[in-house]
């Protein structure tokens, strides 16, 4: 039961699963608030109060959510026949409409290509990765005698 890292990945994988088992796969979207025991609630309110007290300029986030827990949205694509289950979780409101329209496309039987998500993201990663590796190799060969510690420090500071 993996949680997928991005919306795109979730929609893509779900599309694949739906393609393979269109009749039995279901998608569940759960909008839920975290369950809190009284002690937890107390703790959260305390820490909120502390934050407010310590940073008087940054009262904005606490003002917008007056001691209410943050709800989350969990999406689950499940195929009971094979036991495949894909999940995605978010707490950002801005992602909701994108996810829901994505689900609409999936319900309409869209495949991965027509979701229009897969190509560019993967390509960029592929281009970036080798370049980064080369850099690492270069710095390694240049400062080989310096040892692991020095290398790490130098890399972080310059970038």
């Amino acid at each position: 039961m993996p949680y997928l890292p991005t919306t795109q990945a979730f929609l893509e994988q779900s599309a694949l699963l739906l393609e393979a088992y269109p009749e039995t796969t279901r998608i569940t979207t759960k909008y839920s608030f975290p369950t809190e025991r009284r002690a937890q609630q107390h703790k959260r309110e305390k820490s909120l109060a502390k934050k407010q007290a310590s940073s008087t300029t940054e009262t904005a986030p606490t003002d917008s959510t007056p001691s209410a827990p943050i709800a989350s949205l969990t999406l689950k694509t499940y195929n009971p026949a094979t036991g495949v289950c894909l999940k995605y979780r978010t707490n950002k409101l801005q992602e909701v409409s994108r996810l829901m329209t994505g689900l609409g496309k999936l319900a309409g039987g869209a495949d991965v290509a027509s979701l229009g998500l897969s190509g560019p993201g993967a390509d960029v990663e592929m281009v970036d990765a080798p370049a980064a590796e080369e850099e690492v190799v270069q710095t390694q060969s240049g400062k080989a005698p310096a040892g692991g510690k020095g290398k790490k420090k130098g890399g972080k500071g310059k970038r």
Binding site: P22, E23, T25, R26, I27, T28, T29, K30, Y31, S32, F33, T35, E58, A60, P61, S64, A68, P69, I70, A71, S72, L73, T90, N91, K92, L93, Q94, V96, S97, M100, T101, L103, G104, A107, G108, G109
Partner: protein
Amino acid sequence: MAPPLSHDEFFSSLTNLLSKTSEKARGSVSLTQKPLVDSASNSPPSTLIRITDGNTSAPNPKSADKAGKITKNTSSKVKFSTVVKPEELEAFYTRYAELCKSGMTGMKKRDRKRKTKAKGGATKAVKA
């Protein structure tokens, strides 16, 4: 199970349920979609959408004495569904997504100004 609702009824029930849940800041709402397979016809299947609040009506024995009154009043499980035909899918989901966005008010909102401020402060703190 009760017969599927019309889209308008469905949307109003969902709005109601989402706003109630958000107000209480407790509990959850589950929205499930699956194809409604009709073996008789070869046309693309309709989509069945089911909503429930996941309320198990059996009261929790631990909290029975404290929350007993409350659970007794609201113990009935909310459950409703609708069927979307393939040709209505797009219009339905546009409305559905909009409704979800406006109903799920308990989630993190996007506040550009505030967020950038907070972020700037955070990164500064990390660097220092």
